[in-house]
């Protein structure tokens, strides 16, 4: 029987390797896999490339990985938020590499990786500094920049509900980067608030079909009391 539910955050990230690229879902404080990130920090894999919209604030979440100097490079759209002190410190030191990507291009590159698309032409950034050195093309009179697919070794994502097949449902704006990232990594691990029985998630409302998800870990033990 298919059962993608894992017992602990620690075991679910235990085979992340030094040098891996790791996607981390979330936007601001919304839809972040905080317990998976903490398990990754304790696991201690180094030299990581982190792909996420932000570069962390305070000491928690992504910032905790930066503080422990586990991250070699970050690919994001908005590294500079109020309180992104660890990113700013490492950036000044030259201790972290930044690949800045417009937010929609970041999301689309991630989707492309999951969808088997090698690259795409986007109008975003055409004629700007972020298109320098990139191929461009004029299609029907409009300028476009070629952007390539952005896959990862691992995706750490956050959803609200899951089942043992790995189907996922999110909460409100907690989707953000989580669904496209689920499709784009060799190993996708989802932190969820609860695990429901297979068949209890409405098939019309499942956002991430289980085929994209390898491991599910619940934030606390949960039994399907309705069953």
């Amino acid at each position: 029987m298919i059962n993608k539910v894992w017992d602990s955050f620690e075991s679910a990230v235990a085979d992340v390797k030094d040098g891996d690229s790791v996607m981390i879902g979330g936007f601001g404080s919304s839809g972040f896999p905080l317990q998976l990130i903490e398990a990754l920090r304790q696991h201690g894999a180094r030299d990581l490339t982190v792909i996420s919209n932000n570069a962390g604030v305070g000491d928690e979440g992504i910032a905790s990985l930066l503080k422990d100097r586990l991250v070699r490079k970050i690919v994001c759209s908005f590294p500079r938020s109020a309180g992104s002190v660890w990113f700013e410190r490492l950036y000044e030191e030259g201790a972290i590499e930044l690949e800045l990507v417009p937010q929609g291009t970041l999301a689309e590159r991630i989707r492309a990786a999951g969808a088997g698309i090698g690259g795409f032409y986007t109008p975003t950034g055409y004629g700007t500094r972020l298109a320098e050195g990139k191929e461009t093309k004029v299609i029907n009179g409009r300028g476009y920049v070629l952007e390539t697919a952005l896959p990862a070794d691992v995706a750490l994502i956050k959803a609200q509900r899951a089942d043992a097949w790995g189907n996922l449902i999110y909460n409100t704006a907690g989707r953000n980067f989580n669904p496209p990232m689920a499709t784009a990594a060799a190993l996708t691990v989802a932190e969820v608030e609860r695990v429901d029985a297979v068949g209890d998630l409405d098939p019309e409302c499942i956002v991430t079909p289980g085929i994209f998800v390898d491991r599910v870990v619940a934030q606390k033990e949960w039994r399907n009391d309705a069953a």
Partner: protein
């Protein structure tokens, strides 16, 4: 005579049509929603995957996942919907939003927009969704002060800050005036209060055209 930020926002709000799909940038643009009159139904999009953004929740009623692009707690209006970031930016880039209202560091007379980076290279750059909105929305309105704090013009023949998008701005709302970006150049649409054309021209780094009568 200079409008206060809230007054500029109120002026922008007058030009948002009933039924429009609108994205409001972080900061001053977000204030625009406070002034849209109740007889207009405007649907706000948030880049992180919300269509139909409603007002701030009552204290204690916050959904920790339900925030806007500025990371503020919001609500969802009846008729609203959620989607992921890839879909959200597909919506933006695909030309489905009627209007984006954005802040700016500089705007050129050709409608070039600079609002994501200065020339200060010691500071790490950040772009967020600005470039996608700039090229994607059917119309881009800029809301900003007419000059920098030190009095330098922000409306220029060409931007000297890195561009967000080329030839994307349609109209500029400042504390001094409302300007349209036209094929002929920057045309005054409205002078606030008793401001004269010459006063506004003197604080503008590009040649202005007088309002059409």
């Amino acid at each position: 005579m200079r409008l206060k930020p809230a007054e500029i926002a109120e002026r922008v709000a007058q030009d948002i049509p009933d039924g429009a799909y609108v994205n409001l940038g972080i900061g001053m643009p977000t204030m625009v929603a406070n002034y849209v009159s109740d007889d207009r139904q405007v649907i706000y999009q948030s880049e992180n995957g919300i269509l139909g953004v409603g007002p701030a929740p009552a204290p204690g009623e916050e959904d920790p996942d339900l925030i806007n692009a500025g990371k503020q707690f919001v609500t969802l209006l009846p008729g609203g919907a959620y989607f992921d970031n890839a879909e959200s930016f597909a919506m933006m880039r695909g030309g489905h939003l009627d209007l984006a209202v954005l802040g700016a560091f500089q705007v050129s007379e050709k409608g070039d927009l600079a609002n994501w980076a200065t020339n200060n290279d010691t500071y790490p750059p950040a772009v967020g969704g600005a470039m996608d909105l700039a090229v994607g929305a059917k119309q881009v309105f800029v809301i900003m002060s007419h000059t920098t704090k030190s009095g330098e013009p922000k409306i220029l023949e060409s931007c000297n800050y890195p561009l967000t998008g080329a030839a994307v701005v349609k109209r500029i709302y400042t504390d001094l005036a409302v300007l349209d970006v036209t094929d002929q150049g920057l045309r005054v649409r409205q002078l606030h209060g008793d401001n004269t054309f010459d006063e506004v021209q003197a604080l503008t780094g590009a040649t202005l055209l007088p309002a059409l009568s």
